[in-house]
């Protein structure tokens, strides 16, 4: 059964000199260059707070998101820049958010961990590990309740699988799935580490998907470095979940090349050799090589794409830099919709 699925997946892929693959390569290179730019700007002090970049995992965001359509919703953890860009958020507005500017996707009030771009289907960026899984399951219920065929995709890391809300979300999604009321795809971004604690050290059962199956949700493991594999599974699963209203879980086995966050410089939990070994399976290189071999993508084509991506990232930085900070009044906006009496400030007593 699993084998038959694999064959049909690759059937979607192989005649794949379609322009869409080139576009996906461009997107992944853009994400890579954008993330490198954020790391530089963080070191310059232009970006505050935490910064968690997606370098090494790009095929997991682009491979899934590219299979979605308008009306679908994406929830993810705080490693969320790639999802925003893959969904079509403007890179300048994403960078402006990281810079804490008024032009940011979340008006400069969320930062790196809380990117929101509802118009493009991004329902956040959340900073409490595992906390957003329940929200995503409820959003999936809402999609069916409203009678439309939109689906929800929920990204989370292997590190999110030990917290209560993971189990509560999975159980409720499984239950609602029995009634066809929970069209959601859970994506385990299994990059091997919960921050600095390896899967072997954080999970009593290292077969992570098995824990999802315990909640009557079917699962599938995929090579998260290979976008052909990811997209192939995504096409089939998106169709299936949209049709059935039942949840599904894809465990994408991947690896983050950068540190956990920008402050994770020493990385005492893994060796340089281990990182180097994984860099041989760079998702951007895998896609690029494949397109060169099968579709005749030339070095010049790749160079042009890269120059474009570097330029886009630079333009995003420039836009962010030149954008205004949020106005002081923004401090009180969006706390609640209907304002109660605003607290009186000292100066107003005079």
């Amino acid at each position: 059964m699993a084998k038959a699925k694999k064959e049909s997946d690759s059937a979607v892929i192989d005649p794949a000199c379609a322009p869409e693959w080139t576009e996906l390569l461009k997107q992944m290179i853009l994400i890579r260059r954008f993330e490198e730019a954020t790391e530089r700007e963080f070191r310059k002090g232009k970006i505050g707070g935490y910064l968690h970049v997606y370098i090494g995992q790009e095929a997991v965001s682009s491979g899934i998101v590219s299979a979605l359509r308008k009306g679908d919703a994406v929830f993810c953890g705080y490693r969320d820049h790639a999802q925003a860009l893959a969904l079509g958020s403007d890179p300048g507005k994403v960078m402006a958010e990281l810079f804490g500017k008024a032009t940011g996707v979340s008006k400069g009030k969320g930062g790196s961990m809380h990117l929101f771009d509802v118009e493009h289907g991004l329902y956040g960026g959340y900073g409490i590990v595992g906390g957003h899984l329940t929200l995503a399951a409820g959003a999936a219920y809402a999609k069916r309740y409203a009678g439309n065929d939109g689906i929800v995709v929920c990204y989370f890391g292997d590190g999110a699988m030990n917290i209560g809300s993971f189990h509560e979300a999975m159980n409720m999604a499984g239950l609602w799935g029995h009634q066809g009321m929970c069209p959601i795809i859970f994506i385990i971004e299994n990059n091997g580490y919960a921050m600095g604690t390896s899967v072997e050290r954080h999970s009593a059962l290292t077969d992570l998907s098995a824990r999802v199956r315990a909640y009557a949700i079917p699962t599938e493991k995929v090579d998260g470095q290979d976008i052909f594999a990811v997209r192939g599974v995504a096409d089939r699963v998106v169709r299936q979940v949209r049709e059935t209203g039942k949840p599904y879980c894809i465990e994408a086995v991947t690896y983050r090349f950068s540190g956990h966050g920008a402050a994770d410089i020493l990385q005492p939990y893994r060796s340089k050799e281990e990182v180097e070994k994984h860099k041989h399976r760079d998702p951007v290189v895998i896609l690029r090589t494949r397109l060169a071999e099968v579709c005749g993508l030339s070095d010049d084509d790749v160079k042009a794409m890269d120059e474009w991506a570097v330029d886009e990232a630079a333009k995003a930085v420039k836009f962010a830099e030149e954008s205004p900070a949020p106005a002081d009044e923004e401090l009180f906006a969006d706390v609640v919709a209907e304002h109660g009496p605003r607290p009186v400030r000292e100066s107003e007593h005079e």
């Binding site: 929200l135 995503a136 409820g138 959003a139 309740y145 509560e168 979300a169 409720m172 009496p341």
Partner: protein, 329 residues
């Protein structure tokens, strides 16, 4: 107007809103087939079906979290907590998610979510089932905190909560469920948040309270009037967030004395907030320090005699009134 119990007022508010707006649904533990521990949801599953009356597993984080997601996508979920004590299990979903997403999304989403359920002491449920949570939730921006003292307010404010755009913590007093009162029949009767009311007029001392302690304060006020000629003005805050102190200030300008009454523990409680506000704003009007009447600073004991010692009573309020009048002794 019709006479209704606090319990029926709550059920009617929910059912009228479910009739009015298909986006309203309710979820909770044993609210459907079982019809609710306190029978607030009796008959609702039968009328609205399992898609709108959702029996959840015993998983508070799961039910509040999913409701937040539903609300963000345009539904209007009501989450019934079997008791508000259990909502602490969902504190992350309420405080880190529901209360924050509007803000950190830059206003891109509404979260029209109501988390409602009973709270309070009085029937020997001991430490984990007798707490009250006004000050706990009212500490956090991004949510409304409602604590009705009458059937009319229970109905009117629950409707405001369901029709709103923000998360609402709706704290019901379990002890008041059987209480009866006049409730307007108009299905569009609502009571706005952030409007305290004068529940009883008086000229000598201002008593500030909400929920069950408001009813207790009214009893004390009547007694003091009859027996000792002391006229208390009693203010019902109704919502702790937003907090409307203006009627309190107006009253203190008249009485020059104030007592704040709450069921929960004294440290960092609602009464402290009330007293601080009075002191900051109408200090010059005060003829005595603001007094606080609160529960004792202990986990709720089981034994009836100890439970009675731990909760505020009429005599405690009367004593505080006399204290601010320098009439005790």
């Amino acid at each position: 107007m019709s006479e209704k119990s606090y319990r029926d007022a709550i059920r009617e508010a929910m059912m009228e809103e479910m009739d009015r707006d298909p986006a309203v649904l309710i979820m909770g533990e044993d609210i459907g087939v079982y019809e609710g521990t306190f029978r607030i949801t009796a008959g609702m599953l039968k009328k609205y079906g399992p898609k709108r009356v959702i029996d959840t597993p015993i998983a508070e984080a799961g039910m509040v979290g999913t409701a937040v997601g539903m609300a963000m996508l345009g539904l209007r979920p009501i989450v019934e907590m079997m008791t508000m004590n259990f909502a602490i299990v969902a504190a992350d979903q309420i405080l880190n998610h529901a209360a924050k997403v509007r803000y950190f999304s830059g206003g891109q989403v509404d979260v029209p979510l109501v988390v409602r359920g009973p709270q309070g002491a009085g029937v020997q449920l001991s430490a984990q089932h007798s707490q009250t949570f006004e000050s706990f939730y009212a500490h956090f921006p991004g949510i409304h905190v409602v604590a009705p003292a009458t059937p009319a307010d229970a109905k009117g404010m629950l409707k405001t909560a369901i029709r709103g755009r923000d998360p609402v913590i709706f704290l019901e007093s379990a002890a008041l469920y059987g209480m009866k009162g006049e409730v307007p029949d108009d299905p569009d009767f609502t009571v706005p948040f952030g409007k305290s009311r004068v529940a009883r007029e008086g000229s000598d001392v201002t008593i500030v309270s909400f929920s069950r302690m408001l009813q207790l304060s009214l009893i004390v006020a009547d007694k003091l009037s009859k027996e000792e000629g002391i006229e208390c003005e009693v203010i019902d805050l109704r919502t702790l967030r937003p907090l409307d102190m203006e009627p309190v200030y107006a009253s203190v300008r008249k009485t020059h004395r104030a007592v704040a009454v709450q069921e929960q523990w004294k440290p960092f409680g609602a009464a402290a907030e009330i007293a601080a506000n009075i002191t900051e704003t109408v200090f010059d009007e005060l003829d005595a320090p603001v007094a606080r009447v609160t529960g004792e600073d202990v986990p709720m004991p089981y034994a009836r005699n100890l439970e009675l010692l731990a909760t505020p009573h009429e005599e405690d309020i009367a004593r505080a009134v006399k204290k601010v009048m320098y009439a005790h002794g």
